[in-house]
Amino acid sequence: MEALVILAVAVVVGVIGSMLGIGGGLVLIPILTLFLDVPMKTAIGASLVSVIATSSAAQLVYVGRGLTHTRLGMTLEITTTMGALVGGLIAVHVSGRSLQVVFAAILVYAAFAMSSRRVDDAGFVPTGVLDTSYIDPRSNAAVAYGVRRLPWGMSASFVAGNLAGMLGVGGGLVQVPLMNLVMEMPLKAAFATSNFMIGVTAATSAALYFGRGLIDPHVAIPTALGVLVGAQLGPRLAGRMHSATLRWAFQLVMLVFAAQMIWKAVR
């Protein structure tokens, strides 16, 4: 019956996560470890599996619209998968407690980063580096753009991949602001390309976790199925809820979880 509890929790997290545009792992991992007594590394493994599922599902929508910049994604994926591999190796060798402390720090960062997001799709231009274009779904106009500071992007992607592999969160948290603010690409394309990448990144570390016996079907399957269903429902429910209130409540929950995780780790 525990599987049904995990399934229900994952559906709710999937709904809220997709409404706020954040991955489910940030909230799922604390819930699994704090309230359902799942070991930290098993929770990370389950989160990685659900990241692969949601990334694949969302890509079915994005790819059809041409928003994903596949060449850029593949280029950045060189360092992201390297980061995921190193992060995964770190995670299997250090204690679950240390991972909890690092996770709590990332939760605090994420709670604050959620308030400051640039929502601007105007003023992007081709730069001569990986130029591409897409048709904006709202205005139907073609948006042409290129990227800037590719070497910076590749270095920071290593960090994003590392966090993903070590903590089981998608890495979009680092990747989206990186592409939007540093590499100066439109937010919609940044979301789609980041989403494309996190599936590959998560599969890289999931393969490592899998070999080490850290993927537990009894936790991972209800988590993946639940988040997958929730993520499909979220956008359909989004119009009916006050998203600013929801965001504020979510940020508070993340900070409380961070405190609880640190308390549990040092106790």
Partner: protein
């Protein structure tokens, strides 16, 4: 490479990615749902370990929960591997050797991770 041929290459890749994702996700979701249903029907609980590939195929063919669930997980984790492999083939067809190289490097890192997990 001209703008036009680059665009058509991108479209070919997008179509391929779309197919691999749709098939991979449908297969894994079906196996996982069937596995959960079988588990709840048989003994009300789900297994705690992933089976080896051989055992998963054997048990899955008998519609046992542990076999179906392990196969569902394999299909899900393999989907991104196939997507990257498919991109290599598309880039090769478009004779974009630079991206054949980049994508092969990504696949090599992914396989290294799979291999390091077995050590």
């Amino acid at each position: 490479m001209s703008d036009r041929s680059r665009r058509s290459a991108a479209e070919t890749i997008n179509l391929m990615v779309h197919r691999v994702l749709a098939v991979g996700l449908a297969i894994s979701a079906t196996l996982m749902i069937a596995g959960v249903a079988a588990g709840l029907a048989q003994d009300q609980s789900l297994p705690k370990v992933v089976l080896s590939v051989g055992a998963a195929l054997r048990r899955g063919a008998q519609l046992q929960a542990d076999g179906l669930l392990s196969l569902g997980l394999f299909a899900l984790i393999l989907t991104p591997f196939l997507r990257v492999t498919g991109s290599i083939m598309v880039f090769a067809k478009e004779r974009d050797w630079r991206y054949v190289g980049i994508t092969m490097l990504v696949l090599a890192i992914m396989i290294a991770s799979l291999w390091l997990g077995q050590l």
